[in-house]
């Protein structure tokens, strides 16, 4: 729609006589500085990044942030409702947060155990309290938890039907789900990079064969394919084995899409004038790849990594949800959601659905972050 004499090239700033310091800085800015400046304009993407970093930190130190280990059963607290910390009750307000006491009694009609709030009891929340022993980062033995009660138990997200603290379990699941996503993406990426790179750089018959292969993998519906592979895990495998097998499966099915994108990008880059110029300057393949293709490629790789994540997360969640993925005692978001498979379960204890919120928030964060990065990734293209 823009008339010819307002094309982007002309509106790009050429050097003028007067040069502000800002302009100087812009002119000698590297690729990643430019990307960073552009990224800083994307508020939403930054929010996404912050959420993800928070999730990663919390996941990494799940045992510290959660008041209980994931397997602890508080037997008299089955299906406890989530408890929100308060600052005020009938006796007035304090600076220290607390939760009201809980009494559990059997309902005389349904004969189920039910919990009730006892506003007369006040249980103060303390920070850095001693609790169950665990190994921080799998190495350092300690029993300090970020918060907890001196007596009684606290369940921010309630408990499940076995009386386990959902809050603590969600934190552990965050670690599992994010890490399986990371491993899955990384392995898929290495595969895609090698295969797509070979196809894109050398072209010809090899490229053709790889193209056809990826096409075939891509027509089979993804999740059923995952399921088929996951169904083959022997029942006697340990949860660790299943965990690693899952990452492999995710990667194996995930690479064709990535390989295709990498190949396409490489092919178009290879035809760029400046790459031809490097060729004509006498640069060998290693220099062309190292100095020209890879730097141009890096930002796309990062963007692609980020936008592949949600797919891995959702696949893992879906598979574990139906029992074909990770298995207890490993906890992931999908495993936790198994408890919420039926409407009856949710009706009885809606808080079992809380892990879904984490899934959604994580995927949303990855999506907006990916969008922001994609916009920022090519600072040399003037956006319309």
């Amino acid at each position: 729609m823009t008339p010819t004499d307002l094309s982007p090239k002309e509106t790009q700033a050429p050097i003028n006589q007067m040069e502000s310091e800002e302009a100087q800085r812009y002119y000698s800015a590297t690729q990643f500085q430019l990307i960073w400046w552009r990224f800083r304009k994307h508020r939403l993407a930054q929010v996404g990044a912050i959420i993800l970093i928070t999730m990663a930190v919390i996941g990494l130190f799940a045992e510290f942030f959660g008041p209980y280990t994931g397997t602890t059963r508080v037997s008299d607290a089955v299906l406890v409702r989530p408890q929100a910390p308060q600052f005020c009750n009938d006796d007035g307000c304090t600076l220290r947060p607390f939760i009201p006491g809980v009494i559990s009694e059997r309902n005389p009609e349904t004969l189920r155990m039910e919990t009730k709030i006892d506003p007369s009891v006040r249980r103060d929340i303390y920070f850095f309290v001693e609790g169950e022993e665990y190994k921080l980062l799998g190495k350092f033995k300690t029993n300090i938890h970020f918060f907890g009660l001196k007596e009684g138990s606290i369940h921010l997200f309630g408990t499940d039907s076995l009386g386990r603290d959902i809050f603590s379990r969600v934190l552990l699941a965050t670690r599992t789900s994010l890490s399986i996503g990371i491993f899955g993406v990384v392995i898929a990426f290495v595969l895609a990079l090698v295969i797509g790179g070979v196809a894109g750089y050398f072209g010809g018959g090899l490229d053709y064969a790889i193209q056809r292969l990826t096409e075939i993998v891509r027509v089979i519906p993804v999740i059923p394919l995952y399921m088929g592979l996951a169904a083959a895990f022997p029942k006697e495998w340990s949860s660790t084995q299943v965990y690693f097998a899952m990452t492999l499966v995710l990667a194996l099915v995930g690479w064709p899409t990535l390989a295709r994108r990498i190949r396409g990008k490489l092919l178009s880059l290879r035809g760029e004038d400046y790459v031809i110029a490097a060729n004509l300057a006498g640069a060998g393949p290693s220099r062309i790849i190292g100095r020209h293709l890879l730097p141009a490629f890096m930002s796309y790789i990062i963007v692609d990594l980020v936008i592949s994540f949600p797919f891995m997360l959702l696949s893992e969640t879906a598979l574990s949800f139906v029992g074909l993925g990770l298995r207890p005692p490993t906890v992931s978001w999908g495993v936790l959601l198994q408890d919420a498979q039926t409407v009856r379960a949710i009706e009885q204890a809606p808080w079992l659905f809380i892990p879904a919120i984490f899934v959604v928030v994580a995927v949303l964060s990855f999506t907006v972050l990916g969008d922001g990065l994609r916009d920022a990734a090519d600072p040399y293209q003037v956006s319309g």
């Binding site: 050097i15 004509l280 006498g282 100095r291």
Partner: protein, 343 residues
């Protein structure tokens, strides 16, 4: 011929067309360049003109082996030694690239946006290890100064520059390895009129100072006429005429050249344009016409043009034509200036 720098014999470049069916078999070829021969002398500028699809860019790139020629011979003289470029391996060719360079058309896409100007200009030196350490910087500064680039700009990135300045950076890169031969592929076509003159002057000054040899490819006839000593005209993958600039423009011998000359809009409202009318369109290079390739559009065509391929002949001193009737036709060229100071 000791003063010949470069000689091209029967150069052919055919691009396969892969059909998009199952096995991707190659059934057709685009004959982009189909038997082109010429030589370039040391220190001269040979202009190469032709309309889109004539194959002029492919000629330039295949001499540099940016595109692999299908057939033909390209010989290059360096220090009285003759090399057959088509016989060199990729690695040998890489070592040879210091002698020959390309200046691109698009000053935007031809510079890597992720490298500083210094690194861009230094690339030929570093890639071929022609210089090390401080010598690199010295030679980069020298090249930049020759192209009238502010040395302050060397640590900046291409996004800081306008089209004209970028084109200078491209030229500095081309000459930093002190090549003997430079292909200018539409190197001023993308520039504004007011910038174009400066770049043309720069190219000519550099040639005067260092004795560069240019192959100057362009579609703008006036620009080619201005910079070239001799000009070759291409049509549909083949040369139709090659002659010293003034001979070619003022006294063309090939009907196609005549048509081209007559179509140049003169910057002179008194001189009305009277273009030779050509029939139809340029035929497809996949199935070029038989005989003389121009016969489908030539106003002077005869029966034998359809069947006989015209010979590439030197009909006057240094004037080559491929036309059956080159000697008998009287053709009109561009209007010759009436006096030297026809201002």
């Amino acid at each position: 011929m000791s003063d010949t720098l470069l000689e091209i014999k029967d150069l052919k470049v055919h691009f396969p067309i892969r059909s998009k069916n199952l096995f991707g078999g190659v059934t057709k070829y685009v004959k982009a360049v189909d038997g082109v021969s010429f030589y370039i002398e040391k220190g001269e500028t040979l202009g190469l003109v032709g309309e889109s699809g004539s194959g002029k860019t492919t000629v330039g790139r295949s001499i540099l082996r940016a595109i692999e020629p299908t057939a033909g011979k390209v010989t290059f003289n360096v220090d009285d030694e003759t090399f057959d470029l088509s016989q060199l391996t990729d690695k040998e060719m890489r070592g040879f690239r210091e002698h020959m360079q390309l200046i691109f058309q698009d000053p935007y896409s031809s510079l890597n946006p992720r490298m500083t100007v210094r690194d861009i200009i230094a690339e030929p030196l570093i890639a071929q290890k022609l210089a090390t350490g401080d010598e690199v910087d010295e030679r980069v500064r020298e090249a930049a100064a020759l192209c009238k680039l502010n040395l302050e700009f060397l640590r900046r990135f291409p996004h800081a520059f306008s089209g004209g300045q970028r084109q200078r950076i491209g030229i500095a890169r081309a000459l930093v390895s002190r090549p003997q031969f430079i292909v200018c592929d539409e190197s001023v076509s993308a520039l504004d009129v007011s910038i174009q003159a400066e770049i043309l002057n720069l190219l000519m000054d550099l040639q005067a100072e260092f004795g560069f040899t240019y192959l100057f490819i362009a579609h703008d006839l006036s620009v080619v006429a201005h910079i070239s000593k001799r000009v070759a005209v291409m049509y549909l993958g083949q040369l139709v005429e090659l002659a010293p600039t003034k001979d070619l423009f003022y006294a063309p011998k090939h009907p196609y050249t005549e048509a081209l000359m007559s179509a140049i809009p003169e910057v002179n409202p008194d001189q009305e344009m009277n273009p030779v009318h050509l029939d139809g369109e340029i035929p497809s290079p996949i199935n070029p016409p038989s005989g003389c390739r121009f016969h489908t559009r030539c106003p002077y065509t005869q029966d034998n043009c359809k069947t006989d391929i015209p010979k590439w002949e030197e009909i006057e001193d240094n004037h080559f034509v491929a036309c059956h009737f080159a000697k008998t036709l009287t053709l009109k060229g561009a209007e010759m200036p009436t006096s030297v100071d026809a201002n």
